[in-house]
Symmetry: none
């Protein structure tokens, strides 16, 4: 059986992004699908790279940083020097991410306190926080139309 292929809009819909974004990632060297004529055709490897790109974005990385990260996977491992370099860069990234992990946890703790305080304040006014939340979410939705 042939491997599964995807069109640009199929991928876009799957990940809830636009074809424009996918093309943009390509101009930045993050993707490089085959072409059938001029039409882009994505295989599972391209799809996997896209997944990495989107995860990097959620982590708050720039596309340039993401490119460096992805390039680690594809790094040349034939020369000892390259392997050592890979270890070096990998360790650096690990250190950075460990710091980020710490930051995120601290921030999360702080946000949970804020949320709890807001809920308390609403209850002190005789309101059910969840209901109040649902109502304002609804209101903002309506206003947006």
């Amino acid at each position: 059986m042939n491997e599964k292929l995807y069109s640009i809009t199929e991928l876009a819909e799957e990940f809830d992004i636009t074809p424009r974004a996918i093309r943009f990632y390509e101009t930045k060297g993050l993707l490089s699908p085959q072409r059938a004529g001029a039409t882009r055709v994505y295989n599972y490897r391209d799809r996997a790279r896209l997944v990495l790109v989107l995860r990097g974005k959620r982590l708050g990385f720039s596309l340039e940083d993401i490119k460096e990260y992805i390039d680690l996977y594809d790094a040349d491992r034939t020369r000892s020097e390259q392997l050592a370099h890979l270890m070096l860069v990998g360790r650096k990234r690990i250190t950075e991410l460990e710091q980020q992990l710490d930051d995120v946890q601290t921030t999360l703790a702080e946000l949970r306190v804020i949320e709890a305080e807001a809920a308390d304040a609403l209850r002190a006014r005789g309101l059910d926080p969840e209901r109040a939340l649902a109502e304002i979410a609804q209101k903002l939705l309506v206003e947006a139309i």
Copy 2:
């Protein structure tokens, strides 16, 4: 005793930001210091608002979100609505950060695999990974000069 007052540069230096940033926050309605003639003069309340702004930024909120939060104490909407809105925005951010936490951990695991595989590959070549690492780090350092 009169309350303590601050110039724009004093505040800027204290919080390690630029006067330009502080003026920018003002144009966005986040601060509204008194004026002595044309010169901005900040009191402790203005300073407290600035602290809130910077905290909000640390937590990853937009200046617009931060404005909503700060206006909690001014209220043009009802206070309950503001509180509910705060909860809403806070929860959204919490969800994002929880996802980030997950992503960071996944990425860390992957990087550790890459690092370990590189180390193995080096050992398979009869090299000590730590030495190889130290050597290439040294080499890159020298090249940088």
